[in-house]
Amino acid sequence: MLLGRLLTRLLGILLLALLALAGLAAAVFCIQSGHGTVSLPSLASDLHLADLRGTIATFLHRLEARGPSATVAALSGGGAILLGIVMIASLVPRRERLIVLSESENGVIAARRRVLAQAATALARQPRMVTGARARARPSRRKAGGRLRVRVDQSGDSPNAEVTRAVIAALQPLSESLPLRVRVRARKRRPAGRVR
């Protein structure tokens, strides 16, 4: 994946540079009209575009034909699509699995996202009115710490705010000393098997 990412970036830079040069050339050769020295027809002639058109026309004609050429063309197209997918996938940033809790000259203290989420889930289940909980931890992009989002299911008629306060208090052992922003969302769930 690292090699794929590197190749993708180099190729991207190269293609952008070529595109910029092509745009610059097209802009420069728009100065004159007709068949002047600095005109688009002159540029087409310098680039031998007429011969290229002939070559491409022959190639496209062969591509339309049945037989081995069509098979090669289909395989090449499929390979190009796969290569493009791999290149795009390598550009997707991998999620950080560690949340840095503190960083100093003595070293780094970090915890896995899953660890914090599991601990938060278990703590969030402690209040009596909570029937289920699910937590997610995400690291901050630029600094130490991260975000903790907890979703809890509540039973009974307690107001959501009361349940939220209880869950936040239950999470205190985890959140009081860590650089985590905690967000709790409570929702009422009907108990299963209710008969109307």
Partner: protein, 108 residues
């Protein structure tokens, strides 16, 4: 140590060889200046207390042990990774250092 234990991880890859025995939960890397950078992998006991304080205490114990062994000058940064939390009722069973076992160089 109280509150946590070193862990070699699910694939037993976080460990360092020392005189034929494996020290679980510790990775040691030699820095360009010759000092050793340590990475400690930890499972914390339930309920999880102040994690940062736990990690800082562990770091302090390592530095104290290095000082007693007169290796303080060779010790570089110490990184602590918290890789797991024991569930309620679960015992900390992984690692060489159990909840009440001393680290190498410490007195029991």
């Amino acid at each position: 140590m109280p509150g946590g234990a070193l862990t070699a991880g699910p694939h037993r890859r976080w460990r360092t060889s020392d005189d034929g025995r494996a020290i679980h939960g510790v990775l040691a890397v030699v820095q360009p200046d010759g000092r050793f950078e340590l990475e400690l992998h930890l499972i914390v006991a339930w309920p999880p207390g102040p994690l940062e304080q736990l990690a800082a205490d562990l770091r302090g114990r390592v530095r104290a042990a290095a000082k007693r062994a007169r290796l303080e000058g060779q010790l570089g940064q110490i990184h602590v990774h918290i890789d797991g939390v024991a569930g309620p009722g679960e015992a900390l069973i992984d690692g060489v250092a159990g909840p009440d076992q001393p680290l190498a160089g410490e007195q029991a």
